[in-house]
Symmetry: C2
């Protein structure tokens, strides 16, 4: 691919200036105005100066950093266009090959959806030309929505799984890329021949992905048993050993849908697999798949007992509200998970979920929490601040980048978006057209910053994501 | 305003050619390709020719219609850009003055939301300059999302209510415009002085609106008691008489939130008002407010008994899924209403709902129906076809335009959108930028038309609404 040069290319020293908003804690956003954030050639934040006088930069700030003034590229957020810098979004669960099916799910639920829509499409992506088209598109699309890091499932095909990693690396999108393991209960045309074959193919993909990005700064492999029903006990046991041997992250699905849960119970009775209990969580735990680097997608119907096991193992949950509503899977109790100390991020779960946007996931997390709250669980409701935390800092915990991305602090890396809500609405009766190009958010001018953020959360889209950086590198810009 | 000339201006004869999609019934969309739809100078569809050869138009079709060929303006949908004509959307419930608050609702529910966010903003819109800015914006915005007809609540202020009607008429958006009646239980700064004052102000606004559009082709007045808690019994009784006297439509809210329902029960006991029963529905029925032209917003918690009364009166329900989820009001059982013969449309209910888009409402109606279905009510789920019916033909029933708009049939009026999903995705690795201007829907080229429509429903936005016509007049165009 000849792509390594591009991603390891040192960028210039950069100074970002203006308004910065980021999740300080689960419940609070930090708002910094007239602030300068210095990002070095490695993409690391080396200084933050609030209430900063930009005209003094060359004479005082740059010398202190040891920067030659003419080596610095300066980027400001435009107050006139209601712009601000925000951490990049982290999509903690999505299936790259399913992207062409977004919005196509009819009235299906998980198990018939897999058979009808999903397996045929995934199988067809072993065609490298088709895979290239689809994977390029999903990377460009998610970058344009501000996703700086994504935990991807590819397919069972090694060549095109590796291609996905190549394309992420070249585009500069951080990614966990997982070759999907599945040696049973899927169609004959789309199934690993044996547990041994599945593990060998997984190792092959891991080796390749580690070869193209040896430090794992941008792309990393992830061990990916599809979900318990499509993995034999020997396969899961081998993958658990592989996780222990390599220290690599793991991703899979858990407790998404009631039919699936019943199936798992039937397929993996505790006695047969030597589990200490009879739940979905016990299955993964028995095979060593619950580590502190495991991302469990969904967790809609988890029991108290299961959550305690997940908590003890340090595994994390990817909440996928759009998918859970679209496929009628259920309404996950995020507040309940958070109160039990589980780390939670957001996942688009395309194409169970129809939207490529983590902002939309934050919005839908707020809505689903209200469905959980309806009638009797008032405190289930998630706030604007909380869902934006899940979309950024929460997600960073899931992808193994806690303290590294998801906020703006010295020592963190510059994975960020420049958000612009457009000029304030003024009374020009037919001024509509160019205003609409600025997106779907209307700021009238009297709103507080928290209200502007709420407006962005609920009506924002990719038009508001003006620029996106990963590790200091500009990876997307709207013209 | 000098606006009458514009709206009564005869347009040219027009021929629309290409792909047309519209709801034939609740469950089925009609797909017409290579079809010609002839629309006369009054905006009425006078002929539909499927499998049409456009090159023959001048020699055979136009003479049959009595049209001089050079008097006809021709508009084609571009197959290369996945374009099709679709009926305009009907927003059956929204509050124009609340538009600046979209997305701003915190963790509130109905009654505290009214006090905290809504009444102060509405009261401030008695300032004509501010009202002009806000109302122009909401009209432009909803038109850009394909809303060809809207049932607006204004405020209690007559002057600016009339201004809203003026602006709708000039922009060419069909509208019901209601001066809001409220003589109790709202803040002193925003309340009618008495029932008599409220009715007099309502009459004044009705007279004005009927004077600017005497045939009511574009704008019509609507009698608008805000909701039972903010209207005294004498006020509701007078408004019921006014509805009977004038034959005008009525719009109000019903059974949105459990606190509100309890409040109504407490405020209007059956004995006190002489009602035949003790429900929210009985209150309106007692005062003659349930007519076959009444639009009831929400209806989330209606009982079987209430629905039977509503059905008997021929009143209709505006389903507002976005608002119901955002304000934690509940999940309305739309399938249950439809099965009881209630006519249902969709409402954005801005700013209880945060989105100006009826397409987004159709999407959220699908999601909310899945929350109703979760676990045990499988058949509650609404299909793509059903929610698009609610957004168009269903809405037409609510606003008194059944058989006139909402579909493409001879004799109906041309209220339509040109939808474009953009060119098929091709493998150009960095072709992303201009593609993104085409919107958020990616068509790969192998999708069936029903799947393209599903993709539009779930990821479409105003970028896909290329042109909008009302009664044959072009009222919005994306540059």
């Amino acid at each position: 691919m000849g792509s390594q040069e591009q991603t390891t290319l040192a960028t210039q020293n950069q100074l970002f200036y203006g308004t910065f908003i980021y999740p300080k804690t689960l419940t609070d956003l930090e708002y910094l105005h007239n602030t300068a954030v210095a990002v070095d050639q490695n993409g690391t934040i080396v200084a933050i100066e609030p209430d900063y006088d930009l005209s003094q930069a060359a004479s005082t700030f740059f010398p202190r950093l040891g920067w030659a003034p003419d080596s610095v590229s300066i980027h400001s957020s435009l107050a006139s266009h209601n712009q601000f810098f925000f951490p990049g979004f982290i999509d903690t669960h999505l299936h790259a090959p399913q992207y062409p099916n977004v919005g196509i799910f009819g009235k299906s639920t998980l198990l018939d959806w897999l058979e009808t829509y999903t397996f045929p499409l995934e199988a067809s992506l072993s065609d490298p030309a088709k895979a290239r088209t689809v994977y390029n598109r999903v990377i460009r699309k998610t970058l344009s929505h501000g996703t700086t890091c994504a935990a991807y499932y590819a397919t069972k095909d090694v060549t095109t799984t590796n291609l996905l990693a190549d394309l992420c690396l070249r585009a500069g999108q951080r990614a966990l890329v997982g070759r999907v393991c599945m040696d049973q209960l899927s169609p004959k045309y789309y199934r690993d021949a044996s547990a041994a074959d599945s593990v060998a193919a997984t190792r092959e993909s891991i080796t390749y992905i580690q070869s193209i990005d040896p430090t794992g700064a941008i792309v990393r492999p992830v061990i990916t048993p599809r979900f318990a029903p499509s993995c034999s006990a020997p396969l899961m046991a081998e993958l658990g050993k592989l996780a222990a041997e390599t220290g690599l992250p793991v991703q899979t699905h858990i407790s998404e849908n009631e039919g699936e849960i019943a199936l798992v119970k039937e397929m993996f009775p505790a006695k047969k697999i030597g589990a200490k209990g009879d739940t979905y969580t016990h299955v993964y735990d028995t095979f060593g798949l619950l580590t502190d680097k495991t991302i469990l997608a969904h967790g809609v119907h988890l029991s108290e007992e299961e959550v305690q096991i997940i908590k003890a193992r340090g595994s994390k949950v990817s909440h996928c509200p759009c998918s859970n509503s679209a496929l009628t899977s259920g309404a996950a109790r995020v507040r309940w998970l958070l109160e039990r100390g589980i780390e939670v991020g957001l996942g688009t779960d395309m194409s169970g979920g129809y939207s490529p946007s983590v902002l939309e996931m934050a919005r839908q997390a707020a809505l689903v929490s209200r469905h959980v709250a309806m009638g009797y669980r008032e405190r289930a409701k998630l706030t604007v601040e909380e869902v934006l935390y899940l979309a950024t800092k929460g997600g960073a915990e899931l992808v193994g980048m806690k303290g590294k991305v998801g906020g703006f602090e010295v020592g963190m890396e510059w994975d960020a978006q420049l958000i612009g809500l457009g000029r304030d609405v003024v009374d020009e009766e037919y001024e509509g057209e160019e205003k609409e190009e600025e997106g779907n958010v209307d700021v009238f001018g009297w709103e507080s910053w928290p209200n502007k953020v709420a407006k962005w959360l609920f009506n924002g889209d990719d038009r508001n994501t003006k620029k996106v950086w990963v590790k200091g590198r500009l990876v997307h810009e709207r013209k």
